[in-house]
């Protein structure tokens, strides 16, 4: 079966049910066993504004939301006016004729499918909020999806409102479906069904589930887009799973709650976005100094300051890297897709506990909030859990206990508070092996150096454990695209298109940012005649990091910082511009 693919855009103003329409299409497709990847572009308003959701549906796994549009569902005039030009030739435009007018000078290469929603459903108690359901029904026909799944989805959405409301919505959707069947030809033959239904999830949900699978028992947060949906998931499921979930007064409290819980011996997680992470930074150093394991997710959004609350960016790397004063051991991970978000949590907790360090996880709005299908069979619950020497509940009476014992790896056995026979203080002031924090001890140059050496030694061993970076695509290529975190799926598709256009391209998608796997990265970069670093920020934070860690200066950079995610076409265009025009940074000023 050759790959089939359709991209649908749904737009309107906040409050018109765009999210629900989009989620419904995603769910219906996933229940067919089809894959989806969706991205919601929204604004920081509760009502009004322009909300725009793009859902890519395919018969095979897809890794980004694409860069084109086959079907436009316009819930208001604004959406039609904004997005008509983006629809591919022979594409489809679905709208309510009672609300949206096709302009006089409209494109002639599109199929305009107007549905008179109210007239069609006036005997069913039609209300204007139902137009999205009518259009959903019509879209189901156009996309050749099975209407029986619409009934199931309506059941999911409206069952809390009672059976009559479910019935009413199913009927309204059916009218839309019937009208479309009578008036519009479908976009293609029926979508072939996949072998089994798929789960529709987000990066944030996968972080949360992954954390719980990894043994997380404490989650703290202060609401902040785009991290909030992690809190919502934990708030919903935490109590029944035995996870204490705490919404704190601010991010200063959040991280310190998590450190307290980590100190007491549970796997503790917190998440925020850049602004909240700024508030947390002092405590990141506290975790490192007291050698308390903690995992922190920073779901980046556009900055600086409160910046773009609802838009994506990858510009907090330096903040993660430079978080907190002084030198201290830490780890920075940048997961690359939904499944990776899940498994990264187990890695993060294991590393945090085994090395007794803070582990910082960089996500971004695109990764955290996008919707993606995942095969449930790919979500293994028996993830490896390795606490190292970090949660000891007893200590032999005849052995002296030193909490910060100087060891070959820098990792000291950690006995949990409450363990009889042992007492120690974990101090954020400099201290010796026993944890003594009086000034005479902490400021003694010999002891200070010994303590620093012990803590920093962890990095040497940690670095050895980091998997070598793997190049995706051919071993040797004309161009190597280097990116980090969420852009992996976009880079792979861009590389594929470039290769098909005659520019052989491979991808180095970095997940382990600190400690940096310099040797492995250099092995890849050294082979490539043209290294182009692609990232979603202005200053090229990864590019500079690579230079700092390896001395390697990339040949060019594709950057984007307008708030909207990278798209394969943008990367392709950027690479071509660099190769053909000889510029070094695309788009440049």
């Amino acid at each position: 079966m050759s790959r089939q693919e359709i991209t649908v855009g749904v737009g309107g103003e906040a409050g018109e049910g765009i999210g629900r329409t989009g989620d419904s299409i995603a769910k219906i497709a996933a229940r067919h066993g089809l894959h989806i990847y969706a991205y919601n572009s929204y604004q920081s308003v509760i009502r009004g504004g322009h909300v725009w959701l793009r859902i890519r549906i395919a018969t095979e796994k897809i890794h980004n939301h694409g860069d084109h549009l086959n079907v436009l569902i316009a819930l208001n005039q604004d959406t039609l006016d904004r997005h008509l030009r983006e629809v591919d030739s022979d594409g489809w435009v679905l709208f309510n004729t009672e609300v949206v007018r096709v302009p006089e000078d409209h494109r002639g290469d599109l199929r305009y499918c107007g549905v008179p929603c109210k007239a069609l459903c006036k005997d069913l108690g039609y209300k204007p909020v139902m137009q999205n359901t009518v259009l959903l029904g019509a879209a189901t026909w156009v996309l050749q999806l099975d209407f029986s799944y619409v009934e199931g989805v309506m059941q999911d959405i409206f069952k809390h409102k009672g059976a009559p409301v479910v019935r009413e919505n199913v009927q309204v959707a059916w009218r839309g479906y019937e009208y479309a069947r009578e008036n519009f030809p479908p976009i293609h033959s029926p979508f072939p069904r996949g072998p089994k239904p798929l789960a529709v999830t987000t990066g944030n949900e996968m972080f949360a589930l992954g954390a719980v699978a990894a043994g997380c028992k404490f989650y703290a947060a202060y609401p902040m887009t785009p991290a909030s949906s992690i809190l919502h998931w934990f708030a919903r499921y935490g109590p029944e799973l035995g996870v204490v979930v705490k919404q704190c007064e601010d991010e200063l409290a959040v991280i310190n709650f998590a450190i307290g819980a980590g100190f007491a011996g549970v796997r503790a997680l917190c998440a925020t976005s850049g602004g909240g992470f700024s508030l947390m930074t002092e405590a990141i150093g506290e975790a490192a100094m007291t050698e308390t394991p903690v995992v922190v997710i920073n779901a980046m959004r556009g900055g600086p300051s409160t910046g773009l609350p609802t838009k994506t960016e990858q510009a907090d790397f330096w903040q993660l890297f430079g978080a907190s004063q002084g030198d201290y051991p830490k780890m920075i991970l940048a997961p690359t897709d939904a499944l990776d978000c899940y498994y990264t949590m187990a890695e993060a907790f294991n590393w945090a506990e085994r090395y007794q360090i803070p582990v910082l996880v960089a996500s971004d709005l695109y990764l955290s909030e996008h919707r993606e299908t995942v095969d449930p069979a790919d979500i293994r619950f028996d993830v490896p859990i390795d606490r190292g020497e970090s949660a000891l509940r007893e200590w032999p009476e005849d052995r002296e206990y030193k909490r910060f014992a100087d060891t070959p790896t820098g990792v000291s056995p950690r006995v949990l508070p409450g363990t009889p026979g042992v007492c120690y203080t974990a101090a954020t002031d400099e201290h010796d092996e026993r944890g003594i924090l009086i000034s005479d001890v902490g400021t003694d140059p010999v002891k200070r150096k010994k303590s620093m050496d012990k803590r920093m030694r962890k990095l040497r061993f940690l670095r050895q454990e980091i998997p070598a970076p793997q190049v995706i695509g051919p071993e040797r290529a004309d161009v190597t695209l280097v990116g980090w975190g969420s852009t992996k799926g976009i880079l792979i598709e861009a590389a594929d298109r470039l290769t098909r256009a005659g520019i052989s391209t491979n991808v180095l998608a970095l997940k382990y940012l600190y400690p940096f796997p310099s040797d492995g990265v250099m092995d890849v970069l050294r082979r490539s005649p043209k290294v182009i670093v692609v990232e979603q920020n202005y200053t090229g934070q990864l590019m500079r990091h690579i230079r700092a860690e390896t001395g390697f200066l990339a040949h060019g950079a594709v950057r984007k910082y307008d708030g909207e995610p990278m798209e394969p076409a943008y990367v392709v265009q950027g690479v071509k511009a660099i190769l053909e025009d000889g510029i070094s940074v695309f788009p440049g000023e």
């Binding site: 404490f218 307290g260 819980a261 100190f263 203080t425 002031d429």
Partner: protein
């Protein structure tokens, strides 16, 4: 209850504290009020016969915040102003532990003020002892949030123009369920307030006049001795909220110490839904396949 504080004073006077002696002697200035607080806490723990390994003493930054290093117990010495959130995290993860927070007025009523109010309204079972010397000692004598109006310090050479925070009134208004004030110069009374505070189910604040003998030459032992009186000696009823508020506002020629207010209500731990599965630190890690499948099912 008022008499209970006085009853304990006799019993607590001679209780042996060796079991709670820390690995080093404090490096506080000779005569510092914090010595009395340390001793009071040790006496309280000894009186209550709590094993040192079942206690976590949490602090922030400052002279007084070095206390965890001087007592035999588990300790966490954290950041300036952030002791309470750490303590709350510890308590939520392992509510079996006795969690005592020690710090100064700058730490608790200045940089940590937000956490202070929220911790009290949550009513977690935590004991918070604030060594209030009305000055920033470790940073060599700047004005603190409890410094009196008019005082001259390194950072207020022309006199402090801000009125002080009233921690007792603030605690009463924020929902603290045990509100007391002690004085380092009356160590057995203080020890009995601490013991009752630790035994109290819920958030206990014990504000302590703990004179800084180096940088505060106004609020000295002698200054307090002339003014303080025990609420217990005057038959104050700590269940009377309105009267407690009235007493909290008394600060001048006569300054009350003792138990202002105590009420027993549900603690945060009583309501925490996750405890239905048991104490977090005792939970097995991970998800069963059934649990996991059920969670994924919600996405199907």
């Amino acid at each position: 209850m008022a008499t209970a504080v006085l009853d304990v004073i006799q019993e607590i006077r001679d209780v042996p504290v060796e079991a709670y002696e820390g690995p080093v002697h404090p490096d506080w200035c000779p005569g510092c009020g914090d010595y009395g607080v340390l001793k009071a806490l040790q006496k309280a723990l000894a009186y209550l016969q709590i094993d040192p390994s079942q206690v976590v003493v949490v602090s922030g930054i400052g002279c007084s915040s070095n206390l965890p290093g001087f007592i035999r117990a588990y300790g966490f010495h954290g950041l300036h102003g952030r002791a309470l959130p750490v303590a709350e995290g510890i308590k939520l993860a392992n509510p079996r532990l006795h969690v005592v927070v020690t710090g100064g007025d700058g730490d608790g009523y200045g940089i940590g003020m937000g956490h202070f109010i929220h911790a009290m309204r949550r009513n977690l079972d935590i004991t918070y002892i604030v060594m209030n010397n009305q000055i920033y000692g470790l940073t060599t004598g700047q004005v603190s949030p409890t410094s009196m109006k008019g005082v001259r310090t390194k950072s207020t050479p022309y006199g402090n123009i801000e009125p002080p925070v009233n921690p007792i009134a603030l605690a009463l208004m924020s929902g603290a369920t045990y509100v007391a004030r002690g004085f380092s110069g009356d160590p057995n009374h203080l020890a009995s307030l601490v013991a009752h505070g630790i035994r109290h189910r819920g958030f206990a604040l014990i504000d302590v006049f703990s004179p800084c003998v180096t940088y505060n030459n106004v609020n000295t032992y002698a200054w307090f001795r002339q003014r303080v009186y025990r609420l217990e000696d005057e038959g104050h009823d700590p269940s009377d909220f309105a009267r407690a508020v009235e007493k909290a506002l008394e600060f001048g020629d006569r300054i009350p110490i003792g138990l202002f207010y105590e009420i027993e209500v549900e603690t945060y731990e009583d309501l925490e839904p996750a405890y239905k599965r048991g104490i977090p630190v005792d939970q097995p890690l991970g998800l069963s396949p059934e649990e996991g499948a059920r969670l994924v099912q919600a996405w199907m």
